[in-house]
Symmetry: C2
DNA sequence: CCTACCGATCGGTAGG
DNA sequence: CCTACCGATCGGTAGG
């Protein structure tokens, strides 16, 4: 009576309606949009369904719950960052170049997938504990990549020896994660240019010779 | 029949129960706490009332609506910043000292009134248009103070001449507003020490002599 | 401040 | 995917 469940074999997709994954991705898109605009709790599943021209109850054919949709949106929101950062850190170039590339790459998703990023940054705290922890792990992976490049620069004698990689990472990610807050209402709209300026400022600080402390 | 309404005379508080203002402040405190933890839409007026040991409906004796409570919490959330920043900018010391003081002062409310600050940062977007604009004006005032000090330093020949005050302000406020995101779960708990490190990094960047661009 | 209450909406289920 | 529907909760009002 009990058959082997076809969805368990990862590679083979037999007997499943072909559009399922695609449609689920469209729902995630719509959810990201509404979550970003209204916040998770301010968003109604009705509004998500309206965006797709489907009935509210039909969403539950694709997602078991509103929370699961938030989880998916947040997952997509982080995953891009870690992957590109990993590629940069492992690639060629010196620590200074890597750091600049890391910073530029970090802000690209803000333009490409603004809604996912915003939801990840602002709404992840409304996730249930277990999935919040799962997402948080990815976030920490990203931070560690920044720290590693910073440490690489210090060890190579390129960055100032008194650089604290952890604090510096917090500062940099603060600057960068603040971008969605003003992106869109700033006159200068070239995010890449602005982030390049951020990177220059940071590098100038990292490359500077230690100065006198406390000098008026 | 129509009497002059006593609450219109600002200085004189006659005929009003004496604890009104105080109680309203307590409600704002509780609201800030719940809004910070659950987000505005995730917060129920019931939970706020529970915190105060009063009935949910009684809240409406002090605030006309949930939105009005959010507005009050946000208003308190910004007002501290502008006032202290103004005092620093107008006070003595050079631009470098002022900038450091500005940065340290900006993070103090994060410890003192964490909930108000968090709510202002994360929930102000859920305010109705008109009050959001009112709050936004205060926010811009703060930004202009930072920009002015930065420009002061450039004009005095202290900060690098290629400093862009606007971009620099966005970077600094990004770093600083990111503090509530990691404050509490970071090992090093001395926010002042961390922010001092942020300020040093920033100053090193601002004081550095222009270097060769694009040098490998 | 409380009691009593309401209309609206919300996430989610049953069954096809 | 849809129809039909539900229990719970929510912000807010009336009247004292």
């Amino acid at each position: 009576m009990r058959q082997a469940r076809p969805e368990e074999g990862a590679a083979k997709r037999i007997g499943r309606p072909r559009g399922r994954r695609r449609r689920a991705a469209e729902i995630a898109d719509a959810a990201a949009q509404v979550f970003a605009r209204r916040g998770y709790h301010g968003a109604s599943t009705q509004e998500i369904a309206d965006l797709l021209g489907m009935r509210q109850a039909s969403l539950y054919y694709y997602f078991p719950s509103k929370e699961a949709a938030l989880e998916e949106v947040c997952r997509i929101g982080v995953e891009g960052f870690v992957e590109s950062a990993l590629a940069i850190a492992a690639g060629g170039g010196g620590p200074a170049e890597k750091l600049t590339a890391l910073m530029t790459a970090h802000t690209r998703p803000v333009e490409t997938r603004a809604d996912y990023v915003r939801v990840f940054l602002n709404e992840r705290r409304h996730l249930p504990v277990d999935s919040r922890r799962r997402i948080g792990r990815k976030s920490r992976r990203l931070e560690r990549i920044f720290e590693a490049v910073l440490k690489e620069g210090v060890d190579a004698g390129i960055f100032r020896s008194d650089t604290e990689p952890r604090l510096c990472t917090l500062a940099i990610l603060g600057m960068l994660n603040g971008v969605p807050a003003w992106y869109g209402r700033e006159k200068r709209a070239d995010v890449d240019g602005i982030v390049a300026a951020f990177a220059r400022l940071t590098l100038d600080g990292l490359l500077a010779a230690p100065r006198e402390r406390g000098a008026g």
